[in-house]
Amino acid sequence: MLKQTHKFFGSRRQHAAMRGMDIAAAMAAEAMQAGVEVWLEATVLGLYQDGVLLVQQRERVVTVQVARVVIATGAGEKTLAFPNNDLPGIYGAGAVQTMLHLYGVLPGRRVLMVGAGNIGLIVSYQLLQAGVEVIAVLEAMREVGGYLVHASKIRRAGVPLLTRHTVVGALGTRFLTGVVIGRLDDSGGIVPGSERVLEVDVMCLAVGLTPAAELLWQAGCRMAYIPELGGHVPVRDGRMQTTVPGIYVAGDVAGVEEASSAMVEGRMAGLAAAWDMGFQSPQYPHLWAEAETELAALRGGPVGARIRQGLAKLAAVRAREVAAGA
């Protein structure tokens, strides 16, 4: 969120029309006001089944015993394997955003964006705003994955959106000088003769995210491979609890979606963890129902179809496990 300078959609409840970085600041202030103790520059290095966390904070390492834990570690970027994929000039979209928004450094002059999901489209637009030339946006699927409003901005700026295209390889010796692209056929191969070279000094990969679930694997949570949710995701119940009692999940680590859904899931996981520890506020049913309604709205319509499909698969995996365990 800290790197998101664009404004969000959705309803006011998910801070729509606010910039991502301002949402993060507002939520942090809200938590601190409520008396939450915040450890900054702290990383959980390990999560053990008995509820022990190994935490590094700056130059110290401590263990913390917890009754309940909500894992909301987000997601990491996926990448692609192609010849010369180690050349300087090839970045993940997150790195490009860090350079642009945190350090004020341009990654290069001419960029090829790979991936037309929301991240690829938004970062393309941010590059244009920063004065960088975006040569094209490649997308392997038939359709642009991101919201139409983002795609339209890119089209209006005159950037071609090449669907059914992929990276064949990178060119250059000491750094990136070009990218060979090709059109995809129905079996996922390259259409012979469709290859061509785009001269660029930056290739930005925005080819999707996968849950940063290392801690959940470590703790022994059951995982399921659901491509619609970004890869391996934790099997969980309707209350965001994993198969290891006391470990809850929220946000992209539970299945890659939009930041708006992550905020709602965070509230739900927090409510469930609090309830299970005995903090059974009379407001709980109301707050829970409210969150469920918001999530359903966020996942509604054609935009949420893939997510709904992924969640249905995940629910089926869980149902099978419950049946097998009973």
């Binding site: 390990g46 990448t79 180690d86 491509p227």
Partner: protein, 92 residues
């Protein structure tokens, strides 16, 4: 199409493991991510496989004719990121 495109395809950037090395392991009869990891060090670098596990799972799936989800994800162990020994030794 382009002779320059014969360059290496890196799967694991931390440990410089290429696709050719993964294929060589598969040709020796290796079929699991755990074995590839031990033989090539793929996924054993500073990032602990954050990037290459996905690529390796996809490649294993492709070669075995299965979904990437069928690959055994090699064991995840603490710590999730490199820690200086001095910091660990000074711990409580």
């Amino acid at each position: 199409m382009n002779e320059q495109l014969t360059g290496p395809v890196y799967i694991c950037r931390c440990e410089d493991v290429t696709l050719a090395e993964v294929w060589a392991a598969l040709e020796r009869g290796v079929t699991t991510m755990e074995e590839i990891k031990r033989l090539t060090r793929c996924g054993m670098g500073p990032c602990q496989g954050r990037t290459c596990r996905q690529l390796l799972a996809r490649e294993l799936g492709r070669v075995m004719g299965e979904s990437p989800g069928a690959a055994d994800m090699a064991t995840y162990r603490p710590p999730v990121k490199p820690v200086k020994l001095g910091v660990l030794a000074g711990g409580e």
